[in-house]
Symmetry: C2
């Protein structure tokens, strides 16, 4: 999906919500757990109930890998089930030397039909560039993350700037605002104005709203640009809105609330 | 596998060789490519031919993910085929917020029987700690890697030290030399004495010998400690030693050469 189409989706839906499919067998409603197709049945119901309120889905690969082969199969079936109108993110945090990153890019952009993958920057340019070589695909590089561990390295000074600022500036030079986004955690609201100054045009993928406590209002006021420039992810707050038979309906209701609130900021 | 057993394996075999199973369908011998079980047939033949000369196998997950579901199945079958005497590394470069890293740990330490996983440090403590909670399992954190991109961030100064030095010192405090190793690329030989001073006791996983040009002699002279403290990985140089029907025999011969050379340094 190219940048123009993504922006068009956001404008037509009045939403920049990404729903995170961090699907954990132990957390889905009990009435589904005994089904052999529990994960995919849950995901399909969530997608059906939320697709009118979001523009993107983010599949957290860890939750599927934890289930082994049947988990990988459920991930494949899920990404194929997501409508073509929606921006499909593999939240995989990959990154390795060039010839290996080329294989990860193949895994998520060719073998699987994702539009984007999250990538860790530590290993530098040749670990990121193979992902950028695909037309109309996106590389979403970790900038400043939402977790407490962000202080250990991301918020350490390298010269006059924080490491995460160096990452944003350096990695931005390897791509452009039509093939590169950055992860900026919603819990880092105080840094958002600075980050938007560094990167006025790029989209940010913003996890950390909901279960992790970030404020949608804060982020939207501080970091939205003329093209929106934000994909705000909610995972647990949406998909586990209810643990009963009404789980999909409740997930849809939460997604609709986010969409309504986002409509105010757009 | 605990540290004592790993050291015992190294001493009994006179080898600290890790064979990297970066198995790429396009690079395996032509006579195998048309077989439906091409990848697993290749891996089994390589393991049979090399197991007397190495103490460890490293499965590069990217190459298996690139093949989709059948690739993940081949990875599962391969890790189960590796003898229990050998240290099994998932070279996966994972790392995410705590609840997600917990899922990755489950994927590779519970669902699959790996002894170790490689982890990227960028997101800090809570992205690494879930892996450290498993008894007799190992977390191998990226320190200074073998690729050209290492200069972009790893070799940037944070205060008085390089970022990679801060990573080594900081992460070392989260575990101990019996559950934590670091990746240090063989092409970084000039830094090895310094790294060994920072971490006198830890094991280093050293990729970059062979196709990437690192010198086994240099590394061994500069970084070996009383317990050996090294696992040196060769992937392409061993597994693609021949593209003909004698591929396994030739892989075994190269592995035996490494073992012989390692015997001189031990």
């Amino acid at each position: 999906m190219d940048r123009q189409r993504l922006i068009q989706q956001i404008k037509s839906k009045n939403s920049y919500l990404c729903v995170g499919l961090d699907t954990d067998h132990a957390k889905i409603p009990v009435h589904l757990q005994s089904r052999p197709d529990a994960i995919i049945a849950f995901n399909k119901a969530i997608i059906d109930a939320t697709k009118d309120h979001c523009v993107s889905y983010k599949i957290n690969t860890a939750f599927y890998e934890a289930m082994g082969l049947k988990g990988w199969a459920a991930m494949e079936e899920t990404v194929h089930y997501i409508p073509d109108t929606h921006f499909k993110i593999a939240d995989a945090k990959r990154g390795d030397i060039g010839n290996t990153s080329t294989q990860y890019a193949k895994a998520f952009f060719e073998t699987l039909p994702f539009d984007a993958i999250t990538v860790a920057p530590y290993m530098g340019s040749d670990s990121v560039r193979p992902f950028l070589e695909y037309a109309d695909k996106w590389t979403i590089v970790l900038g400043l993350t939402s977790n407490t561990g962000a202080k250990d390295f991301e918020l350490q000074k390298t010269g006059d700037e924080y490491l995460y600022e160096k990452v944003l500036r350096t990695v931005a030079g390897w791509g452009n605002p039509a093939n590169l986004m950055f992860v900026v955690g919603a819990t880092q609201a105080s840094a958002f104005e600075n980050i938007r100054r560094i990167l006025p045009e790029h989209f940010f993928l913003v996890p950390g709203v909901g279960a992790q406590g970030g404020s949608l209002k804060d982020i939207s006021e501080k970091a939205m640009n003329a093209d929106c420039g934000l994909l705000v992810n909610a995972s647990r707050a949406v998909i586990y809105a209810s643990e009963k038979e009404d789980f999909a309906e409740e997930a849809g209701a939460i997604a609709r609330q986010y969409q309504f609130e986002m409509g105010q900021y757009l």
